[in-house]
Symmetry: C2
Subunit: 532 residues, 2 copies
């Protein structure tokens, strides 16, 4: 890397150019003002679609007709999560065709995509722009990817496409149901995965759009979560995904006493600060601790006869139950985390599919995230300024995507219930390995040994000043962890930048350095967070 580095508003050294594209350093929350226009795709004409029937024989023909060639940017969505069958197939075809240096622009990648490492090795894929969960993150971390990874939040991905930072040449949209015109949804069919919101930007802005389905029905496919008016080709395939694998990561309430304690403390804090009240809203996520918190919320709501106006998904069986019992009026859902979520979205008009445009895009006239009262998020590390990391572990490895995490920081109260240490590595540090989100947006850290409230939230501190909760300063929490575990070593990192972390406005909030692998087998640290 010979690119110039500059210090951004958080004091992080970030590159001014990546993969040949100029980058703007993070300037502070809400400080960067875009002074340009949206990306404008070429105008097309119905003269080229006279019958409205866009069926083509197979995926290879669709890719060839879409003009697949070296260096193109190819996008996919991740609603199948670890059950996606399409992305690997696309690059298998590209490899077979001898195409080189593609940029893969998924909305997230999972262990099921590990095979794409082969296509990076043989030159078919140049690099990945998108969240990398697991093996691909490890590959990137070790500096093996030809280009530099670019990680964005769900909202940041929409923003990047809308703003033309990423220009998608070909979008391939796995669609559980579609018609020959290209209208598509995720609600029905053997591979139903709920919704297709992560492919919305792709459909609207990509040069060519291919819909691949294993459930082709007569026009009209209702509802059209993806509108056929954006679609060039429709391909019928045998199987596009394994919906049973959308249940990845923890989708059961934790049984760990420490984590249950964290969940209890979080709930008590919300209650004492009067955040759980009629008409409130919350987003909890799908980790074991988050699910416990949602469960405790439910108990309180039932007991005190409190109704939430809305809850945000990723949906799961617990949220569906709350919706069906009338504890929440609406479930505004960006992705279904289990098959109960899929069923509910199909059947219940109050379980509404949303998209990164409605929920998270920072370059819009507001978004839903800022309307949520309480958001519960995870983190791998937090520093004493409340800056938090969700991407790298303390050993420096990039193993998780951003998901909607950054976008959710704009909610009214942001709470991070996290263990004080994981595998004897303290989670609260002087400095985090990677800053994914600025501390000024993070309000509360809840650990099993105490709660730290961001001093900026004087209102919360006031509301809780007589509380029996173990409220401490974040420095106190850090010292407590270090007293038990010792001061953690810094990870061994090279200067080489292997990925950058974009902020919600497209600026660069941090850079990820290449890991210098330990010679001995190092123990895996920490546990997975569910963010994508």
């Amino acid at each position: 890397m010979t690119t110039k580095l500059v210090k951004n508003a958080l004091g992080r050294l970030v590159p001014t150019e990546i993969n040949g594209k100029k980058q703007i350093p993070f300037q502070g929350v809400g400080k960067y003002r875009p002074d340009y226009r949206k990306y404008n795709p070429q105008v097309v004409t119905c003269a080229d679609f006279p019958t409205g029937n866009k069926l083509i024989v197979d995926l290879k023909a669709a890719l060839v007709n879409a003009g697949l060639k070296d260096g193109m940017t190819i996008s996919t969505h991740h609603h199948f999560r670890n059950g996606d069958l399409l992305a690997v197939e696309i690059f298998r075809i590209a490899s077979e065709l001898g195409i080189k240096n593609l940029i893969w622009f998924p909305s997230a990648s999972f262990p099921c995509h590990a095979k794409i490492i082969d296509y990076m090795e043989n030159g078919t894929v140049h690099h990945i722009e998108g969240s990398m969960n697991g093996p691909l993150g490890r590959y990137c971390s070790e500096g093996k990817m030809k280009g530099v990874g670019v990680l964005r939040s769900h909202g940041g991905r929409y923003q990047a496409v809308q703003d033309g930072e990423v220009q998608i040449d070909i979008a391939v949209i796995a669609a559980p149901t579609a018609d020959p015109f290209g209208n598509a949804n995720g609600l029905t069919g053997p591979s139903a995965c709920g919704l297709l919101g992560f492919a919305l930007a792709d459909s609207q802005y990509a040069h060519k759009v291919i819909v691949a389905t294993d459930n082709l029905i007569d026009f009209p496919c209702i509802p059209w979560q993806i509108q056929g008016n954006y679609v060039d080709y429709v391909v019928k395939m045998d199987k596009i995904g394994e919906p049973e694998k959308i249940v990845s990561g923890t989708t059961r309430i934790t049984k760990s006493p420490d984590r249950l304690l964290i969940a209890e403390l979080t709930t008590q804090l919300c209650q004492e600060a009067s955040l759980i009240k009629n008409g409130f809203s919350f987003q909890a996520g799908a980790g074991g601790t988050s699910l416990a918190i949602a469960y405790y919320f439910e108990q309180i709501m039932r007991e005190k006869n409190i109704k939430a106006r809305f809850a945000r998904g990723g949906s799961n069986q617990y949220l569906v139950k709350m919706l069906e019992e009338g504890l929440v009026d609406y479930l505004l859902d960006g992705q279904t985390f289990d098959l109960e979520g899929v069923r509910s979205m199909r059947e219940n008009p109050r379980h509404v599919d949303t998209s990164p445009f409605t929920s998270y895009n920072y370059h819009g006239k507001g978004n839903f995230a800022s309307l949520v009262d309480i958001v519960i998020l995870g983190a791998t590390e937090v520093d004493i300024h409340f800056n938090a990391n969700v991407n790298t572990h303390s050993d420096g490895y990039l193993l998780h995507g951003i998901g909607g995490w950054q976008n959710c920081l704009f909610s009214k109260t942001v709470i991070l219930p996290i263990p004080l240490f994981r595998d004897r590595i303290p989670v609260i540090r002087d400095e985090v390995t990677t800053i994914t989100g600025p501390g000024e947006l993070i309000d509360v850290i809840v650990t099993e040994r105490g709660i730290a409230i961001n001093p900026r939230r004087k209102d919360l501190l006031d509301a809780l000043k007589d509380s029996s909760l173990p409220i401490k300063t974040i420095e106190e929490l850090k010292n407590e962890a270090e007293k038990i575990c010792g001061i953690p070593e810094k990870p061994k990192l090279s200067d080489e930048i292997v990925a950058i972390i974009k902020w919600v406005d497209g600026t660069v909030i941090d850079a990820v350095r290449r890991v210098i692998p330990l010679t001995r087998t190092s123990p895996r640290r920490g546990r997975r967070n569910q963010k994508s």
Copy 2:
């Protein structure tokens, strides 16, 4: 008018510049290829919408904050049809503020908008770009408007906005229900009008978007037919429209024996040509003859156990009944023509709201209109080349908009059931006063005295060669009319161009000349078609 005139592909003399903007003459169906990019609005930021609450005290404050100034383009939608209360109010405020030379860009205008003539007289409004039904059309026809009128189809309006031909400065969207974020729909509330599809382009592309509602509810307003992410201001008003007046024009089955005969002949033709079959689709419209045809279709479908896959609205009680009885799987509806349509769209997930983008935009990757098997349309005049006019009467007066009429011409079989003469004026002429649609797209003319099939439709002629139907050439029909009524006089028109008629691709298919009013009171000719 000193602008240069050129002959377009239909031999009509059209201007190369209108209102200071270059114009492209019609080049033939599917011949004009756009070689430019979509309009790209300025990128905005959530930093300017931190709370997501966009309520502002009143419409005047919203207009002032949106930067209302001389010469701006202001858009409104017409889902209230003749019951709209908002457009006049906007220009009343603008007039009060001393603003001049606004361009009003409605999706259609109605007699309820006659007051806007006062605002054209006092200089507040410069001209109207949009369908002008009734008094505003008359005002324009007589050359009293400062600028030249530009008439577009519903699809052409979307195309013009998407392509940047019309740049909307401020869109004001009357919304029967909305939340403070700006999410809005037409389904519920005291002024429910069904849907808001005609305002879709406005929301997506206007610089500033104001939602005005008389039914403000808590976030989230579900469904969001208009997405709050596009909205700048939300205004609570006492009353935005009179939904009982969306029932404008004929919404009852005709009782005229001639028209019933036309409807019978049309139905018989469709049946003999095997167009009414399982899985077929149709769009009939709301005139008395069209309703009779829909009624006859229903009888056949019931009798022969035939189900349509979909019917297209404008919806009305008859289509709703067919949907509810399972004779059609889906009703794909662009506007509700009566309150039964509104109710059905609110209650029935198979009654689906569409937009000019999905249904009609010619600069997309196909649209729904081309998927419809049978479309029934009206016309004020047809010429011997099957070119048809829906805008002007034979006296030259511009009294109707285009509506979806041009867009529907792309359906598989286009049938115009029309009387052979109206008030003793023949409808089939050597030349129509105005060409709204090219004859190559019009397949069948059905009159009470015979049926003319376009010679281009050899398949239809073959299918009907042994038919007992009174199939004649269009010249024979014309001669028959002239034998009864005499050869009609041409209207008295000046050279001055008062309006242009855009084709679906933004080219100019015809120009409308100023009418030289007769000195004696001339009888009104013909009757209204329902197209907007």
